[in-house]
């Protein structure tokens, strides 16, 4: 069964600086089909789809809608053609109600006919078996519910092509099941669904067809039912064998560096946690379940909480006032450009951010010394940069992350809080970061906060699962039985 494609992309290219995010891509999108775009982080999936959604413009290439050439210069253009996208970061107005968010921008006429709109939304909710209260405020919703609001926004205006960017990254396994059922229904109705993901298993489960992107090019396109070996698919996606099995030998954990006793916060409920030098503890869970608050409390960014936090046997409040805090604790935040560095300052200045006390000459800052030190780190960590006078925003994500790691490891910390340390990195950089973390483990205790189960399982000695502000369970990563149940724990099961 081959019908005419609804949308065809022809020779689409797009570059960001020297990076070619999309390189002459051809892609046809058929109605009634779930197409998966599979690729590593940075393969160009999101770029391609943001072009289709009208959010960015291609440098070259053409887009055809039902055979006619169209120019998608804004999201409005795309929406007018029935092409809509659900981004990883939701674009909802937190203070407004669900129905208001859905109807926003589609008012018919001067008056807002509240009841009519709500009826229509409720019908849609029933049709796709979503559970959602149309009167709730968006800020009170869970990530999964917010995602449903985004999808309903597109269905409300009867979008024919729905693009979902990594939709499962914020969902529990149960929520994922529900989403998939909804997506299948949409496809049956003749809509085209494009599903962006880097997770092999779910792609195999949901899609009718898979297009694999690597380094900005489509390297293969296959019908899902014809896929004989998922391993082959992975090879195509990554371009080489992945050494996922880097599980290191266990080392004898040393003294306790972090201990939380009955900690309660805004979201957190009675957290108890202990971490020793020489081990990696991975905190896994769906994003938004209290991980951020926990990190803020441990790193001293949030001082309002109940319970006790001990760092190196000292109470946290005392620890952060003592000179020890300058070097003992290192934090690698998820937000590299927004928090770990200043985008507009040069690399040397960014290198100094947490290292000032190592580079002082009398009352002045020893910029020369810092620069020399940075050069040696650039070599050691293989940071690709033409010099130290580059601004931080000019570095690529992977190189910036290595700069942050170089800086934080330079302090020789005894406790490292690493938050999504490989998010957005290509597989090469990812493996380098993993190796660096494993090496750092010899001298430090590491708390790894990760949304990527694969990462957590291949690095961690112990795993703690967090749900709704509670640590549901903690177990050894060698406990196969428990590991198999992670999904169940992540959904709050005990």
């Amino acid at each position: 069964m081959k019908m005419n494609p609804l949308v065809s992309l022809r020779n689409i290219s797009k570059s960001y600086g020297s990076v070619r995010a999309n390189d002459k891509i051809n892609l046809d999108i058929y109605p009634g089909q779930i197409l998966a775009l599979l690729g590593e982080n940075g393969a160009g999936k999101s770029t391609l789809m943001s072009i289709l959604a009208g959010k960015s413009l291609p440098d070259e290439g053409e887009i055809y809608y039902q055979g006619q050439r169209v120019f998608l210069t804004s999201e409005k253009d795309s929406l007018a053609l029935g092409i809509g996208m659900v981004y990883q970061h939701f674009m909802l107005i937190e203070e407004m109600q669900v129905w208001e968010n859905i109807a926003l921008g589609q008012e018919e006429g001067f008056w807002v006919r509240k009841n009519k709109i709500k009826e229509k939304i409720k019908d849609l909710i029933a049709q796709y078996d979503f559970t959602l209260d149309v009167d709730a405020r968006v800020k009170d919703l869970s990530m999964g519910e917010k995602q449903r609001v985004e999808i309903l926004k597109l269905l409300y205006q009867d979008s024919k092509i729905l693009i979902l960017d990594e939709p499962t990254s914020v969902l529990t396994p149960q929520e994922t099941e529900k989403l998939f059922a909804g997506l299948r229904k949409m496809a049956r109705e003749g809509r085209a669904v494009i599903f962006i993901s880097h997770k092999l298993e779910e792609v195999l489960e949901i899609s009718d067809e898979v297009a694999i992107l690597r380094k900005g090019q489509i390297v293969d396109r296959v019908a899902t039912r014809d896929i004989a070996s998922p391993k082959e698919l992975a090879l195509k996606m990554v371009g080489r064998e992945v050494l996922l099995d880097l599980k290191p030998r266990e080392i004898e954990p040393k003294e306790e560096v972090l201990k939380l006793e009955n900690v309660w916060g805004e979201k957190l409920k009675n957290i108890n946690l202990s971490l020793r030098r020489g081990e990696i503890l991975a905190l896994v869970g769906v994003a938004g379940n209290g991980q951020q608050e926990l990190v803020e409390i441990i790193t001293g960014l949030k001082r309002k909480y109940q319970g006790k936090v001990w760092l190196f046997g000292e109470e946290a409040r005392l620890f952060f006032d003592s000179p020890k805090s300058r070097d003992y604790l290192a934090y690698i935040p998820e937000d590299r450009l927004g928090m770990a560095t200043c985008p507009e300052l040069v690399l040397t200045e960014n290198f100094l951010l947490t290292l000032r006390h190592h580079f002082q000459k009398g009352p002045l800052v020893d910029y020369k010394g810092a620069e020399r030190d940075l050069w040696s780190k650039i070599e050691e960590f293989k940071i690709k940069t033409p010099g130290t006078h580059l601004k931080a925003r000019q570095l690529s994500g992977g190189n910036l992350q290595k700069l942050v790691l170089a800086r934080e490891f330079r302090r020789e910390p005894k406790l490292i809080i690493a938050e999504q340390p490989t998010q957005g990195l290509d597989i090469g950089a990812m493996q380098e970061v993993w190796k660096l973390l494993l090496k750092a483990r010899e001298k430090a205790g590491i708390l790894l906060i990760s949304g990527d189960l694969g990462e957590a399982l291949s690095l961690a000695d112990r795993i703690a699962v967090i749900f709704a502000g509670e640590i549901v369970t903690t177990f050894s990563s060698r406990d196969g039985e428990k590991v198999a149940q992670i999904g169940f724990f992540m959904a709050g099961g005990k």
Binding site: L57, V70, F71, L72, T73, D77, A80, L81, G300, L301, F320, S325, Y331, P333, D335, G338, M339, A340, T341, C342, P343, E344, L345, E349, L352, L353, T354, R356, Q360, P363, L364, V365, Y367
Partner: protein, 354 residues
């Protein structure tokens, strides 16, 4: 539809774009003058030649640029730590009031050799006091400093008018709105038989000091980080509030010094014509200097050339001197456009035809 695409071009090209745009703003303005039936060439000639006619004319440019450097400096200090001080005008006025009150009533309690020092010192205190309110409101209750500092300008100006129309009015002044002349011991010494006072060199020294402070010291480093990314500063556990407070007070103090310099160096009394917009021009100067304190004197001199030239135009051509404000606006726009166009190029794309 027209859209902007990022591009990379050389510095020379960027500079030529800027000059091209400035030139075109002069051309547009010439057109306006032409419709007013004035000869634009003659007017431009007057603006740009008068200040260089003789040494005294040029010295007037320097006289006008001194307070402008200070108000620009004041705005720039706040910007460097990520705050907007729009209250420079009011802080200037308060600085002038404080040093006037000292000069008129309190000199007798101090030895005369210290009068000038204290008069200047109180102008700093006055300016800092007026900047204290907006910053404390911001730090305590997160009230936007742009609004509160701006509104305090009007309070300051009315207070000053009340003082020189009322309690501080010179009893021998034949109804002239102003205070009595200050004692000579607080006059800022003038140089070379012009109105240039030693304040100019104090100002330049302060700017140089600030430049090295930012560039070399740990506190300067922290200020840069806070100004560029407060979240990173929080991440690195900097004590932000203290620095925000200190820098905003310093910003206010510099504005106050501008007021002190005006009353002690130029008018030698508190009188009408003090609040003539140096505070607002300082915002333009700081912006044109691109946060770089070393560029401030150059930018201020350029803006002062326009001002001095405009006064001449006013007396010769009977054209209100405020027309320079229009021209200033044009130049600022040209600068903003040049900044955009040196990073982006305008391209045309077709749109959907439904």
């Amino acid at each position: 539809m027209l859209i902007l695409r990022p591009r990379n071009i050389s510095l020379t090209k960027k500079i030529s774009i800027f000059f091209f745009l400035v030139l075109s703003s002069f051309l547009i303005f010439a057109l306006i003058l032409f419709f007013l039936k004035k000869n634009p060439l003659l007017i431009y000639k007057t603006i740009f030649f008068t200040p260089f006619y003789d040494f005294y004319s040029f010295s007037e440019v320097i006289v006008k640029s001194t307070p402008l450097i200070l108000t620009g400096f004041s705005v720039l200090i706040a910007i460097r730590i990520g705050l907007w001080n729009i209250g420079v005008e009011g802080q200037l006025v308060l600085g002038a009031i404080f040093s006037s009150i000292f000069s008129l009533y309190f000199t007798k309690y101090f030895p005369s050799s210290t009068h000038l020092f204290f008069a200047l010192f109180f102008s700093l205190v006055g300016g800092a006091l007026w900047s204290f309110f907006p910053i404390i409101l911001k730090l305590k209750w997160k009230i936007n400093e742009i609004i509160s500092s701006l509104l305090l300008n009007y309070v300051a100006i009315i207070l000053m008018e009340h003082l020189y129309f009322g309690p501080l009015r010179d009893p021998m002044g034949f109804g002239f709105p102003g205070t009595a002349i200050f004692p000579q011991s607080v006059w800022l010494p003038r140089l070379w038989h012009t109105r240039i006072s030693i304040a100019l060199f104090i100002v330049l020294a302060l700017i140089l000091l600030f430049y090295f402070f930012l560039k070399k010291t740990p506190t300067g480093y922290k200020i840069k980080v806070i100004g560029e990314n407060p979240k990173a500063a929080q991440y690195a556990h900097f004590k932000q509030k203290k620095l925000l407070l200190a820098m905003f007070l310093l910003s206010g103090a510099m504005a106050g010094l501008a007021g002190g310099e005006e009353v002690l160096g130029i008018h030698r009394r508190l009188q009408q014509g003090l609040a003539i917009g140096y505070g607002y021009d300082g915002i333009i100067a700081a912006f044109l200097a691109q946060k770089n304190p070393l560029l401030l004197p150059l930018v201020s001199i350029f803006l002062s050339i326009l001002k001095v030239g405009a006064e001449e135009v006013q007396s010769v051509f009977h054209l209100s001197a405020s027309f320079t404000q229009v021209l200033e606006g044009f130049i600022l726009l040209a600068f903003l456009m040049a900044k955009t166009f040196s990073e982006f190029k305008l391209t045309r794309v077709k749109t959907v035809k439904n």
